[in-house]
């Protein structure tokens, strides 16, 4: 399922985009993430797998500081994107989130038109100087999310009226419209049927040419299909991190092996 072209690109694009070290997350008294170190490469799809409640989504939400919106969450450790500490007091989480886009588990289009959904981010960040530029950004984003042909005739229709798979691709279009450098996806296919899932997976593979993509998934097949790097989380620990092929064919840790063969989960 991996062709050699991917492998080659991995070696040429070897620069680290996100580096995390010694990350601890507490939800109140609950120690949700325990001392995680990980380096995420640019222009690569990295998959986080693990059983429910293992902390993979929590860790993902640390990468764009979405945990800030939860009162009881407390984060320690060091997370750097392009060498810059994102938890530095000088960093504005709002700016950070424009750079690190996010797609959520459940498609959550705004109750606005398809056009306004995509134009939302660019408008907020002033990415377009006039209507023509905005139109162009919207079209480009919708094309990149592989949904343009389905919605180009009804851009003013409500985004909530689309099917589940279309809604999720709309949310991806919305996320790429702000020109992020990293795209975080929290189980983006869990609410979708198999056809919509394969559309989104194809999309993820294409997005890799421009972004560093981090995807949380419950489906090991999905991780194997779309990612080049895989991290396995268990009970808040990062158990194993490495090339996807190696994790799935030759895991080093006993727990990883048990999980991918279906003995724990």
């Amino acid at each position: 399922m991996k062709d050699t072209r991917h492998e080659q690109r991995d070696t040429t694009m070897n620069d680290v985009k996100i580096s995390a070290s010694g990350v601890q997350v507490y939800y109140g008294d609950n120690h949700a993430i325990k001392d995680v170190d990980v380096e995420i490469k640019d222009k690569t799809v990295t998959a986080f797998i693990g059983p429910s409640g293992c902390g993979k989504s929590t860790f993902l939400r640390c990468l764009n500081r979405m945990n800030d919106t939860i009162d009881v969450a407390r984060i320690e450790g060091d997370i750097r994107i392009d060498g810059e500490d994102i938890y530095d007091p000088n960093v504005d989480p709002v700016q950070l989130r424009a750079k690190v886009g996010m797609v959520f588990q459940k498609p959550n289009p705004f109750p606005k038109s398809i056009y306004d959904n995509v134009a939302y981010g660019p408008k907020i960040h002033g990415l377009a100087r006039n209507k023509a530029e905005l139109d162009e950004i919207v079209e480009k984003s919708l094309r990149r999310a592989a949904i343009w042909n389905e919605v180009k005739d009804r851009l003013q229709a409500a985004g909530t009226g689309l099917s589940g798979g279309q809604q999720q691709r709309l949310c991806i279009a919305r996320a790429v419209a702000t020109n992020p450098e990293v795209l975080l996806m929290d189980e983006p296919c869990s609410a979708l049927d198999p056809i919509a899932t394969s559309q989104v997976e194809e999309l993820i593979d294409e997005l890799r040419t421009n972004y560093s993509v981090v995807i949380v998934t419950h489906s090991m097949q999905q991780a194997a299909r779309v990612s080049q790097k895989t991290a396995f989380f268990h009970l808040g620990n990062l158990v194993e991190y490495g090339d996807t092929d190696q994790i799935f064919t030759n895991p080093r840790d006993k727990r990883t092996e048990s999980y991918i063969t279906g003995r724990i989960g």
Binding site: Q95, Y120, I124
Partner: protein, 485 residues
């Protein structure tokens, strides 16, 4: 038998029916309830309901129809020349009924026997005897009235007797039929649930029918009014000067103007303050602050409006007059549109804030996450995602506040006075439609004069206006709603 005792008897029968139905159901399966189609209680409830419902229905219909029938029969028996000059058949029938119930009371107290009543003549001192037990008659009893009252009493007591019999027979019949059908395969549960469904439907209908009834009664009285007063003068007249000797000017414009002016000021106060506090409470406030602040704001809604009125009269009115109206040369009236509007606005704050707060809190967290995840600030998220999603509910809250403002009376009387006036100056005394409805209907009124009937026309106009507001809001909400899911 009085209705009260009939109902007690019916309930007793129903209770027995419940126990018997339950027992028979169980005995039909030799005490093994799992073989029954429904749980044993449903069989019992089925028997109880079939005893109760037909009988109660008979009672209700009978109590409604009997007086009508008796009335027609007795009034048919009163000769036309027995109606005195200047009186009507209706007034005579009032006398008859009053006399009949007076005699009934005398008999119940044992001061007169049935025999004596049949022998009574108008020469006797009926009026005095009734007076002894505190039952005052308006005039001396005339023979026709006495005869009619006697007939009335006979008809009524026979009617009552038949009603008791029919109701009890209906109850026993329903009881017996249902009990005989208790069987392991009987669908008792479906039957009982059908009754419950009918009950729910009936409740819904009562609300609707009451509304229809209110509108119709206002409509008929308004039509009466417009027969006596030209409709164009009412709707386009700019003078409100009722005069109980006739020749009144009854133009609604000054009243409508006052209503709209005061409501506008009230909403200008209540909507921003209420909405902003709702946004703060639901989006920014800590949980602890919210838990304390929300009930405190809601206390405002619990203050009786007359207390707000006193506040307007004693504090706000004089303050506005001394510090704003007089220095600016806008008049020196303590009661003014501004006073009533401000105080009413304060009263409306909790209506707007509490409802809006609930609605904003109900917007799914995923909406906020989506916006924040795109790098929007909290304020941008609230303004562009949360509020639009909550808009239909917020408009509903504002509308509720608006209809409260339009219908408010007490604060207006005490805060803005009772003088109908057309003016732009917010520091002048004005008044509203509701205040005038009250003042036209209080005191010694004659329900045939336009000065009184105008109250119904005012009420109907007010109703149409609030209805129109509701319709407009519904259309607006439907067009601009940003519906999540």
């Amino acid at each position: 038998m009085p209705v009260f005792w009939i109902i007690i008897a019916l309930l007793g029968l129903a209770a027995v029916g419940f126990l018997l139905g339950r027992r028979n159901a169980l005995s039909s399966v030799e005490g093994n309830p799992t073989l029954l189609h429904s749980r044993p209680n449903y069989y019992g409830a089925g028997v109880a309901l079939s005893a109760l419902i037909p009988a109660l229905f008979v009672l209700a219909v009978w109590l409604f129809v009997q007086p009508l029938l008796i009335d027609t029969r007795v009034s048919g028996a009163i000769p036309a020349d027995a109606i005195p000059e200047g009186s009507t058949l209706g007034l005579v029938m009032n006398d008859v009924q009053r006399l009949a119930s007076g005699l009934e009371q005398l008999q119940e107290m044992g001061r007169i026997t049935g025999r004596e009543i049949t022998d009574l003549t108008t020469d006797g001192d009926i009026r005095a005897r009734l007076g002894e037990i505190g039952f005052a008659l308006g005039s001396d009893v005339r023979p026709e009235v006495l005869d009619a009252a006697r007939q009335f009493r006979t008809l009524e007591s026979t009617g009552r007797l038949f009603m008791t019999i029919v109701a009890l027979v209906a109850a026993v019949a329903g009881f017996a039929i249902n009990l005989s059908r208790v069987h392991r395969d009987k669908r008792a549960r479906n039957q009982v649930e059908g009754v419950i469904k009918a009950l729910l439907l009936a409740s819904a209908c009562i609300a609707i029918l009451t509304t229809v009834g209110i509108v119709l009664s206002m409509l008929f009285e308004s039509i009466n009014f417009f027969r006596q007063y030209p409709i164009t003068d009412f709707f386009f007249g700019t003078q409100w000067a009722p005069n109980f000797r006739g020749n009144s000017d009854l133009g609604i414009i000054p009243l409508l103007w006052g209503t709209m002016y005061i409501s506008l000021i009230a909403l200008l106060v209540a909507v921003p303050i209420g909405l902003f506090s709702a946004i703060y409470l639901s989006e920014y406030a800590s949980r602890r602050f919210r838990a304390i602040a929300k009930p405190l704001i809601e206390v405002l809604a619990g203050i009786p409006t007359i207390v707000y009125g006193l506040f307007a009269l004693l504090v706000v009115g004089p303050m506005l007059r001394d510090y704003f109206a007089q220095p600016m040369g806008l008049g020196n009236s303590g009661s003014s549109v501004m006073t009533a509007g401000l105080v009413m606005g304060i009263m409306l704050i909790p209506f707007v804030s509490s409802l809006s707060d609930d609605i904003i809190s109900a917007v799914p967290q995923t909406m906020r996450d989506g916006s924040l995840g795109l790098g929007a600030t909290k304020a941008e998220t609230i303004r562009q995602v949360v509020i639009p999603a909550a808009l239909p509910g917020i408009v509903g809250a504002i509308l509720l506040a608006a209809s409260r403002a339009i219908g408010e009376t007490m604060i207006v009387v005490l805060g803005a006075g009772a003088a109908a006036r057309l003016s732009l100056n917010p520091f002048e005394a004005m008044t509203t439609v509701t205040v005038k409805i009250v003042s036209q209907l209080t005191g010694d009124t004659n329900f045939a004069s336009p000065e009184t009937l105008v109250a119904f026309a005012l009420g109907l106009t007010l109703f149409v206006i609030t209805l129109g507001l509701n319709v407009i809001a519904l259309v607006v909400v439907r067009r601009y709603r940003e519906q999540y899911e």
